[in-house]
């Protein structure tokens, strides 16, 4: 008998951390992540989860505590959002450089000013060069599944990088969906025990962590993280396949997921919950005999450029939808990252949904229409902007 609970995205994240039997949680509440750490605090308080819950006074301290905990060899989890993630920025580099396999849930939310608690992906996009692996979930089930996989990816001996699992604020964090909760035994069996070999504090074998890296060594350490990101491409795929086999749920190849892309000349690319809306639109248009495709990016870092190129072989027009914006360039992150690989196609950048602006089916249809008929190559169009 399957255990299905109707829960929010933040609860799904908390359930996942519990299933992976984390040892240490350090987090600070921030909208719309709060309900996730509340849930975890509850699990710890009522004995459902045997973990150390470190209360901290800010997100900077939360991630610092996580780095410290991870450095002792503990399986570590945190959750944050927006300004909180921005406050962690400094330590995010340390976590990646020190190769700490911390797993984080980030509730994607816009950054101030003006103060805005609603969804866009600017927060995590702004952390893209820290060395963290970044995965994006489309729904609550995928959130749970990705977090379970994240521990196995992060702790892989050849990866050893922190992983950030992103879910759209409010759209996923505060709406309920039926989520299948796997058995703890089964999850533990899948994730395995974390047995750190590279770093854990023990008196018999003293070590220095987080040491100075002078110009003689710093560049090598950054290159090492790049190599680990390369390795992660295969590890993510592999972990996904094993997950699919064991739990019966698959998401493309783990890096990207394609939807009706085979017969489509026009393909939309985006990540997160927006993919669900696009799939609906694609189904509707398919019923009218029109073929459109979706390329969903699950792994934004590492970015699977080969897989993306391969998947888009048949496409002529590519609409890249960004819930973020690189100001001063007037382009979103996905577009700047992907368009250079698609020189033979018309690539159009759409800036959508900043600060929680709704993206409706009509907007998607407008984008498809515009990409096919009016758009100029490498144009940027802000959808739904008030004049």
């Amino acid at each position: 008998m399957q255990n299905v609970k109707v829960i929010t995205g933040t609860s799904a994240a908390a359930e996942a951390a519990k299933l992976a039997d984390v040892d240490v949680i350090a987090a600070y509440p921030i909208t719309p992540q709060t309900t996730s750490v509340e849930k975890l605090a509850e699990f710890v308080a009522n004995g459902e989860l045997n973990a150390e819950y470190i209360k901290v006074e800010s997100e900077h301290s939360a991630i610092s505590a996580c780095v410290g905990a991870s450095a002792t060899g503990a399986r570590t989890f945190t959750a944050t959002s927006s300004q909180g993630l921005a406050l962690m920025h400094e330590i995010l580099f340390a976590a990646a450089g020190m190769r700490m396999p911390i797993v984080m849930m980030n509730a994607n939310r816009a950054l101030s000013a003006p103060i805005n608690i609603w969804n866009d992906q600017q927060d995590s996009i702004s952390q893209r060069d820290t060395g963290w692996i970044q995965l994006y979930a489309e729904n609550n089930q995928e959130t749970l599944d990705l977090i379970i996989q994240a521990f196995k990816i992060a702790e892989n001996e050849n990866v050893l990088l922190p992983v950030m699992v992103n879910l759209d604020g409010f759209i996923l964090t505060h709406t309920v969906e039926p989520v299948e909760i796997p058995e703890k035994e089964k999850v533990l069996n899948f994730v395995g025990q974390y047995e750190p070999k590279h770093a854990y504090l023990r008196p018999e074998k003293p070590m220095t962590q987080g040491a100075l890296g002078d110009p003689e060594w710093y560049m090598e350490t950054r290159h090492d993280v790049q190599k680990a990101q390369d390795v992660a491409l295969n590890v993510i795929k592999d972990v996904h396949d094993k997950f699919a086999e064991k739990f019966g749920r698959a998401y493309g190849n783990g890096l990207i997921e394609t939807y009706n892309i085979e017969n489509a000349e026009t393909v939309l690319i985006t990540m997160g919950s927006l993919c669900g809306t696009i799939k609906d639109v694609i189904d509707e248009l398919k019923a009218e005999g029109k073929e459109y495709g979706l390329l969903k990016i699950i792994s934004y870092r590492p970015l699977p450029t080969e897989e993306i190129k391969e998947a888009l072989k048949g496409a002529k027009n590519v609409a890249i939808l960004d819930k973020d914006i690189s100001l001063g360039l007037d382009k979103g992150a996905l577009f700047t990252d992907i368009a250079p690989f698609l020189k033979d196609k018309k690539t159009v950048n759409y800036i959508v949904g900043l600060g929680g602006r709704d993206i409706r089916k009509a907007n998607i249809k407008e984008i498809i229409e515009h990409t096919e008929n009016e758009a100029k190559d490498t144009e940027t169009k802000w959808i739904g902007l008030k004049e």
């Binding site: 450089g97 190769r99 590279h198 070590m207 060594w217």
Partner: protein
């Protein structure tokens, strides 16, 4: 090679860090002029001037940072700083 996560497993391994890469000036020691007064040996803040088995003073360029204190302290101008070339 750097350990994963730049973790240092043994104590005292800063000898592996060749700090000589910081150098802009390189001291050249002329043992023909040297009177073996040991001033450079005493004053070098990096401890990288040592006599060899023949008593000739040698500079360990892996750690010499090019401060040229040795040039300053040498009473007979046996040490000259030149611009480092790679």
């Amino acid at each position: 090679m750097v350990n994963k996560g730049t973790i240092i497993y043994e104590p005292g391994n800063s000898i592996n860090n060749k700090t000589g890469s910081w150098r802009v000036f390189k001291p050249i020691l002329d043992n023909d002029k040297c009177i073996k007064c040991e001033n450079c040996y005493i004053f070098c803040p990096e401890g990288c001037i040592q006599p060899d088995e023949n008593g000739d003073f040698k500079i360990d360029y892996d750690y010499c940072k090019g401060c040229l204190i040795c040039e300053e302290e040498c009473p007979v101008k046996a040490i000259t700083g030149i611009r480092e070339e790679k």
